[in-house]
């Protein structure tokens, strides 16, 4: 497994490197979240999770969310990468443990974004992005693409153990 710096010369924000796509998982997320064809195909395959939204509305909403998320990350990257802790929150147990299934509605007065960037924190100023997903269900186990992200988090944790880090040294997080 290769880990790379997302910003050249900055050691605070790292990412797993995707060998097939020849870019970091982090860059790949935004490449895909701004790709209308990719998003259309994704929502076609996950149509049953859309509730009241059409595929076109879901695509448009995702691009808006990607814009917001990327802008937050960019603002931190341009000002002070030590503020990354303001963006990444602990991964809620409800996101990966079996709990009562409750569908999140993709509409309402305050809409929560379904975009997720997953990372592992080694210390308050050192994050390794493992990947991300369009999470449309309550639990990560509910869909293969989010299950894959859980597996990736575990793989990166194992990889970090090889450097001597213990489970107490690292924490799984998400930004949305």
């Amino acid at each position: 497994m290769d880990i790379v710096r997302i910003i050249s010369g900055v050691n605070n924000l790292l990412s797993v490197f995707n060998e097939d796509e020849e870019m970091s998982e982090f860059r790949l997320l935004f490449k895909n979240w701004y790709d209308i064809e990719y998003l259309t195909n994704f929502f076609e395959s996950n149509k049953s999770d859309l509730d009241v939204l059409t595929i076109d509305e879901a695509v448009e909403q995702t691009v808006e969310d990607a814009d917001r998320l990327e802008e937050s990350l960019l603002s931190v990257a341009e000002s002070d990468t030590e503020q990354l802790q303001s963006l990444f929150k602990p991964l809620f147990p409800s996101e990966y443990r079996l709990t009562t299934y409750q569908r999140e509605k993709a509409y309402g007065t305050v809409r929560r974004s379904w975009l997720r960037v997953y990372a592992i924190r080694i210390n308050p100023n050192l994050y390794v992005v493992t990947g991300g997903a369009i999470k449309m269900t309550q639990k990560m186990q509910d869909r293969p693409h989010t299950q894959k992200q859980l597996k990736r988090l575990a793989q990166v944790r194992d990889y970090l153990h090889e450097f001597g880090f213990t489970e107490n040294d690292i924490e799984s997080l998400r930004a949305e």
Partner: protein, 154 residues
């Protein structure tokens, strides 16, 4: 080994990414306005293809462009020219881009109040403008009729 030492050991294995996210994100921020239009056009084009069961390859043929060009269009990352947008509209028989027509509204009160006071001087100025426009039109027509036809290059 302490955690600090583990971090140092770990960071020694870290390389730079193959590309520059910072630059890409700044580009998207700077060009957000037209990118958003390009994305909406891509959504509409893909939705139309889906409705009609039409393949991107067929669209490429009808547009007389390469399939790669259509692939770029439907990703929503292309800075499309007006010519390309018009061709897409024509081939798919849809509207993708509309510029509002210019309208001037003149409100004419049914019973002009006395205070409106449309003076003779304003009426004269209006007539003079009309005359001037007519004159310009005449000159334009004359110049068009006397203009030499384009010469073929020998």
């Amino acid at each position: 080994m302490t955690k600090k030492e583990n971090i140092e050991k770990f960071l020694k294995t870290v390389k730079d990414d193959s590309g520059n996210w910072l630059e890409e994100a700044r580009y998207r921020r700077k060009n957000r306005a037209w990118l958003r239009k390009s994305q909406r056009i891509a959504i509409r084009v893909l939705s139309t293809l889906r409705e009609r069961g039409m393949q991107q390859k067929e669209l490429a043929e009808q547009l007389n462009v390469s399939p790669q060009q259509v692939s770029k269009i439907v990703k929503g990352k292309e800075n499309l020219t007006l010519e390309t947008i018009s061709k897409l509209e024509q081939v798919l028989d849809i509207t993708l881009f509309e510029v509002p027509e210019y309208h001037t509204e003149i409100e004419v009160p049914a019973n002009p109040p006395q205070s409106l006071n449309v003076t003779d001087r304003e009426t004269t100025r209006f007539k003079a403008n009309m005359k001037w426009s007519k004159l310009q039109k005449q000159q334009w027509n004359q110049s068009e009729s006397t203009e030499e036809p384009f010469q073929k290059a020998s």
